[in-house]
Symmetry: C2
Subunit: 173 residues, 2 copies
């Protein structure tokens, strides 16, 4: 099934980004974020803050709380937080970076496994992500990624302020 | 002309984001960035820094130096910096926020005017953006937006550190 409308004289509904490319976009950013997590000294990851903002661990935990139920909602239409995912055996943020990275990697695999189940045309359905944020599915996915970029950029300031060179922004390998 | 390949049993090449939606994505972020520019006190916009990073004005100037030649390169395939744009009558960053915002707004209009000239299929062409960064056109566009989100997120830390509440991240109106 194709969702592209033929519009010879305008590009408005031409394909700009495919489903495959959108998955890559998300996962490339997750790889960079993982490197930023590892760039912090363990203690600073959980404690360092500027201007009353959350430490980077809490920003990462927010990304996790979006990505894991997010991919399930995208695929199933059920926006249950912590929906039976191994990531959320415990209900609270782990106390070590190693445990957080284990959850991070499980979600990375989950996204790759679930993504092919997204029905063609699903990206354009309007739905309230997490029961709250009414938008098209593709916009919600972009929002998840944008939110990660936004908070990761804040992590870069924390690192610079600690005298640590952050990972290169352009390296998504 | 449609660029979508029919793939009944997989979603890899299904449309996830249309050209029209990608333009909206870019412009929504530009609106939020404009509000963040205005949230700074004029002097702090040009001088305030954390960890040896650039002041927000210089980060914004980088966004301008990407967006203006960027939209021209996307449309024309010519990646000349400052290509005959009114934005770059002068070669240096202006000394006032009002002048920077004037350039910002001119580029916003330029993007809207040029966007419909992007040929269908152009998004998937490989090309070295700015003669340096070999990638598909859609990836380069996403990179421009991601870079803006990344640096704007850093501006949020500057604002918080100054005791100023930043604009809401979710408001793109």
């Amino acid at each position: 099934m194709s969702t592209t409308v033929e519009t010879p004289n305008q590009i408005s509904s031409a394909t700009a980004i495919t489903a495959d490319a959108l998955l890559s976009h998300w996962q490339e950013h997750r790889r960079l974020t993982r490197r930023v997590i590892n760039a912090f000294p363990e203690d600073k990851f959980f404690t360092y803050s500027i201007g009353g903002m959350r430490p980077f661990a809490k920003l990462v935990w927010e990304m996790i709380e979006i990505a894991a139920p997010g991919i399930n909602g995208i695929v199933s239409g059920e926006w249950k937080p912590r929906k039976g995912l191994p990531a959320f055996e415990k209900d609270t943020m782990p106390a070590t970076r190693a445990e957080i990275l284990k959850i991070w990697d499980a979600i990375t695999d989950e996204i790759n496994e679930q993504w092919p189940k997204i029905a063609p045309g699903r990206f354009f359905e309007m739905e309230a992500a997490f029961g709250q944020y009414e938008n098209t599915i593709f916009s919600s996915i972009l929002y998840f990624v944008d939110n990660e970029i936004h908070h990761r950029g804040q992590g870069y300031v924390y690192l610079r302020s600690l005298g640590i060179e952050p990972p290169a922004f352009y390296d998504r390998s």
